[in-house]
């Protein structure tokens, strides 16, 4: 199965979730500041990368883990993938869209805009890292929930159990 974590920019919360899923970030405790800021692809995606689904790795359980930034339009992601799946005969149960944006706090938003949108990395990156530390527990729980769902096979593309289509982040 393909697990696709998505958030506004695909640079912080979804990256953190994907790295937790892959075991590259701690699953039992909150990481340190340096551990978080140095994780794979953290604060890396540019605004122009919006919509690009990026492979993060295999999770050892036969699943592929991806991230994507879809700005403030999760419905675009759901509708487009559903439509393409139908047209190209892709099994909608072969992927799961997981919305991480509900765990993005105001500090992460401010830091993300400063770093990714305005290019003020020296100010934005520490801020977004701090915000991610605050939200880490929530992201961790979401990943745990996702990992429980996958073996049950109860997920569908677009409106998976852990997706949050109403998020505006």
């Amino acid at each position: 199965m393909k697990v696709i974590y998505h958030c506004y920019g695909g640079a912080h919360s979804s990256v953190t979730a994907a790295n937790i899923h892959l075991g590259l970030m701690p699953g039992k405790r909150t990481p340190g500041y340096n551990e978080l800021i140095n994780q794979k692809l953290f604060d890396h995606n540019q605004f122009k990368d919006s919509g690009r689904i990026i492979f993060m790795g295999h999770d050892g359980r036969g699943n592929e883990v991806y991230i994507v930034g879809r700005r403030s339009r999760p419905s675009l992601l759901y509708d487009t993938t559903e439509c393409l799946s139908y047209a190209f005969g892709i099994n909608s149960r072969s992927y799961l869209l997981v919305d991480v944006a509900s765990h993005v706090n105001i500090i992460m938003k401010a830091g993300g805009i400063l770093s990714r949108r305005l290019g003020l990395v020296s100010i934005g990156r520490p801020l977004v890292t701090w915000g991610t530390l605050i939200s880490y527990r929530g992201i961790l729980k979401l990943v745990e929930k996702t990992l429980k769902i996958i073996p049950a096979g109860s997920c569908t593309g677009g409106i998976g159990l852990v997706s949050n289509a109403n998020s505006n982040n």
Binding site: K2, K48, D49, S50, G51, R52, I53, I54, F55, E64, Y66, V68, R70, R71, R73, L76, L77, D79, T80, T81, C83, L84, Y86, A87, F88, I90, S94, Y95
Partner: protein, 151 residues
């Protein structure tokens, strides 16, 4: 069987217009009535997705969302790629139309019965400038640059 996927970042679904031109449902010369009947007769049309199959067998899809043409193009391309669909089987075309405020305003005004005539006028005037470029784009098999000349 090849699929052409048109993506645009406009409020008005210009990608669907390009798709319908490709399919032959809309004529090469702007027919305001045809555009109106296709897109606006039941209120503003925001749909997309699979539009149909052209006579040459090419399947046409279209997606539009305000300020999200690039996002849609990236999303469509990468989603098909990760699912192992060969690039020979599809072509993602991003219509780089820089939408001005009048087309967006016209589209918005179509929602209410009182403002519909004004909205229709605005949309038709804006499409008058865009339409030939869309026709040209389709003829060039989607390798093109479009400018709306200050709409």
């Amino acid at each position: 069987m090849k699929t052409v996927i048109f993506c645009s970042g406009c409020h008005f679904p210009v990608s669907s217009i390009a798709g319908f031109i490709y399919l032959g449902i809309l004529p090469p010369n702007l027919s305001r009535e045809a555009v109106w009947n296709t897109f606006c007769i039941d209120g503003p049309y925001n749909g997309g997705g699979y539009l149909g199959k052209a006579p040459d067998g090419t399947r046409i899809m279209a997606f539009s969302a305000p300020s999200s043409g690039h996002l849609l193009a990236n999303l469509a391309g990468s989603f098909l790629e990760i699912n192992g669909v060969s690039k020979n089987n599809y072509q993602v075309v991003e219509l780089p139309i820089h939408e001005g405020p009048l087309l967006a305003l016209g589209q918005m005004l179509l929602k209410w019965p009182v403002t519909r005539p004004v909205g229709r006028r605005l949309v038709e005037n804006c499409l008058k400038k865009i339409y030939p470029l869309l026709v040209q784009a389709v003829k060039l098999d989607a390798n093109f640059q479009i400018s709306d000349n200050g709409i």
